[in-house]
Symmetry: C2
Subunit: 527 residues, 2 copies
Amino acid sequence: MSALAGECRIGGRGVPGGGEAFQAIDPRSGAPLAPVYRDASGAQLADACAHAAAAAEPYAAMAAAQRARFLRAIGERLLAIGEPLVARVMAETALPRPRVEGERARTIGQLQLFAALLDEGSWVDARIDTAQPARQPQPKPDLRRMLFPLGPVAVFGASNFPLAYSVAGGDTASALAAGCPVVVKAHPAHPGSSELVAQVIDAAAEQCGVPAGAFALVHGRVHAVGAQLVQHPALTAVGFTGSPQGGRALFDLCALRPTPIPVFAEMGSANPVFVLPEALAQRGAAVAAALAASSMLAVGQMCTSPGIALCLDGAPAALFVAALQAQFAGAPAGTMVHPSIADGHARAVAEVRGLAGVQPLAQGPDGGTGAVARPQLFEASAAALLQQPRLRHEIFGPAMLAVRCRHREELLAIARALDGHLTATVHGTAADLRAFADLLAILRQKAGRLICNGVPTGVEVCAAMQHGGPYPASTDARSTSVGTAAILRWVRPVCFQDVPQELLPPELHDGNPRGIWRIVDGALGRH
Amino acid sequence: MSALAGECRIGGRGVPGGGEAFQAIDPRSGAPLAPVYRDASGAQLADACAHAAAAAEPYAAMAAAQRARFLRAIGERLLAIGEPLVARVMAETALPRPRVEGERARTIGQLQLFAALLDEGSWVDARIDTAQPARQPQPKPDLRRMLFPLGPVAVFGASNFPLAYSVAGGDTASALAAGCPVVVKAHPAHPGSSELVAQVIDAAAEQCGVPAGAFALVHGRVHAVGAQLVQHPALTAVGFTGSPQGGRALFDLCALRPTPIPVFAEMGSANPVFVLPEALAQRGAAVAAALAASSMLAVGQMCTSPGIALCLDGAPAALFVAALQAQFAGAPAGTMVHPSIADGHARAVAEVRGLAGVQPLAQGPDGGTGAVARPQLFEASAAALLQQPRLRHEIFGPAMLAVRCRHREELLAIARALDGHLTATVHGTAADLRAFADLLAILRQKAGRLICNGVPTGVEVCAAMQHGGPYPASTDARSTSVGTAAILRWVRPVCFQDVPQELLPPELHDGNPRGIWRIVDGALGRH
């Protein structure tokens, strides 16, 4: 265990891929990292899905407490790997040690959170309407409904969160919690980290009596692997964190299946920030510093990274933009998680720089080799932003666009023209926020999370979190990929009519043996 | 009011359609019914959607109590139309008076149910995680999340429920309750009933201070009207009840939009019924009578109509099939809601009759003119059912397929081969159900509602109902079109981070002024 074998994990065992060979790359040096991995073959994808299909019934039937133990065991074993995991993640992504250790803690925390949700048990949304045999003109039957797992799902690891949104990350944790077998398609930027995590999931499954088919890891450097995976008839849903192009491609493939399945793609966004007049005048420089830091956090590789800053023009705006300029001009270049990601940043920066109405304001000093990205600050006119959709979309990596609007109406027009974003932020005094209540009402329709006087990076893992906004931020804004509500993407309700108690799950029994919150004849309670 | 003008309703006013002319048809006689209707033109569809978009913010901002009053006012005004509505529905659909009056009561009951849900208020799933400013290493912000309306939606009226699943039916009631403006595409089989109902919705809107754009009715006999409607950029979701072809076509169109939107299509199903050995032996004839009656209820035009009856072969099975045969042979022909629907039944019956391994067992006596359908009973071998997907799908109208399996494994193989259905039913004694627990576990994965010892027709409108099954029964099995949970298809969560109280809806205020159930720092309560 915890030695890299260069393998996929199917049916609880390591299996060398049957497809094209590839290697992880040290993004600092561009040097390939051993061992060699191979894409899963079509037969191996089918095999992983067949194992998942066979595991679906027994895994769904496991007691909630047993699934909770499984999640906790994964977390314990992740921590137990220790330095080899941290070192491999650092080597494959160039993320610094504190970030990797913090992300590991977040990953374990997510697993524990879903374990606690299972132990508490009320998430199944149990509803009971008892029979009324004497009702006229027709007797009312006994109806009992709760949420059940959809079946096997595919999860795509994200490049920018090699632990928290990859093999044992948010989607895997919530899907395993829900009772769905998971086939993870590893991100090709960090196959070694993925394999180490997959090994401990398999070990935890064995320890906890979980059927081996409930988890699989497949590698795939070429897009065809993912495209083929999501078309397997056994799959019932897909979770994805990544680029708009990748997410939309999977969404389209799944919509066109003979049996369409939902795709929960979280595709990032530009996370616009509005700095209102009083706040701009009173603390514009401080807001600029906080925004620039948030924008460049983790070399701008956060899906909630703020990419557009808007304010009303005037002397405070000039100072604000100058402060942003100073921050970006002084910020060192950073190494992105993969050369292809750094190339994408450079391409997007060149594209935006070439657009009419766009001025480069600052870029960080040149420095370093490998997958390096220099922070970039642009300014655009409001007219340019309104006319050119590209300016309203994300540049993945360290980059920000400042926009000074001539008047309030222009600011509101831009807000109305926004597509969906994961977040929208407003900086303002109490008087600002009252005066711009209409702006907040517009932004409520554009984002999954609305922030006052803070930065969008830093996504709390809790019950009240919503991480997912209107398209193109996500393909399904009704769902979140962070927080306890994420479990709801993997389930559907089933209603039982006049089914004898002993054939029902305990959550629906008379007497409420699990002690969960239920709606019984219209009243919520633990009776 | 309540006089037919042959109009669409857009912006609160009657507007003659600008497209092709058509008329309702008396399905008994085939005679056209005055007045002449016209399909909405493209410009009129855009106008209805633009009104809905303009109404979205003010309608969403209305207090829950005001929306509840609106729903109740619609119900009161529906009842107040009295005989003109009942007579028009009967004329357009050939449904008998008790059914029409019962369906009107159900429609009003649905509106009242959602009004009560709004008054109670907890459906918004409010979640609050309070701030921890002293938390290390980072302060925790204040996070408050609840459900908000998606925006304007399109609802397609169903042919088979001219009131309960049409203009003021389930989807409209739940969407208006959620706070979404609704553009209804009337079913062309009952334009007059649709117009009468639309008139009272507009009158109720005016009475209750609801923006006129929150509701519109557009006619469309040709499919292009619906296809054009769902592609309007202002729309955020679609509700549909109808044929698999129609539902899938809308689903595909909406998936291919630049901004995809969810389609909640409820497309009916064959609702398989398994009669287990002891029950078959003890009360096969009674089960046959109940099943036949359920299958032929409303001339077989229920989406939960049982279309396949399965049992193990033997002497009791022969008696069971003979009993079904007697029921179907003696059942009178019935008039379907539209000549095109009766034609569809005849085509499907001819298609099934021509399949290998299928035997016609009984058909009801010839009788009547117009859109008449004769009840049909077929028998198919288990092998035929396994080999030919057509046999596992619905024949809309009065028809049933009996299948005798040679052994338990064949029965289970058929269960496993089933696609998604709205319901699955098992008749069995307590011993039967224990002995076939594996069958129930399979059927739980195939249906939205699992029934023991009853009939699938009769869909209770309550909290525990689930009306929606895996594809192809529905395009989104996570959603229900009946019961209080139907409101959840039209909403998405929004999280507010550190937003001042006065800018939040009352559901998220400290002190819980609405007295709703909320999850506060992980604990559910009304605090």
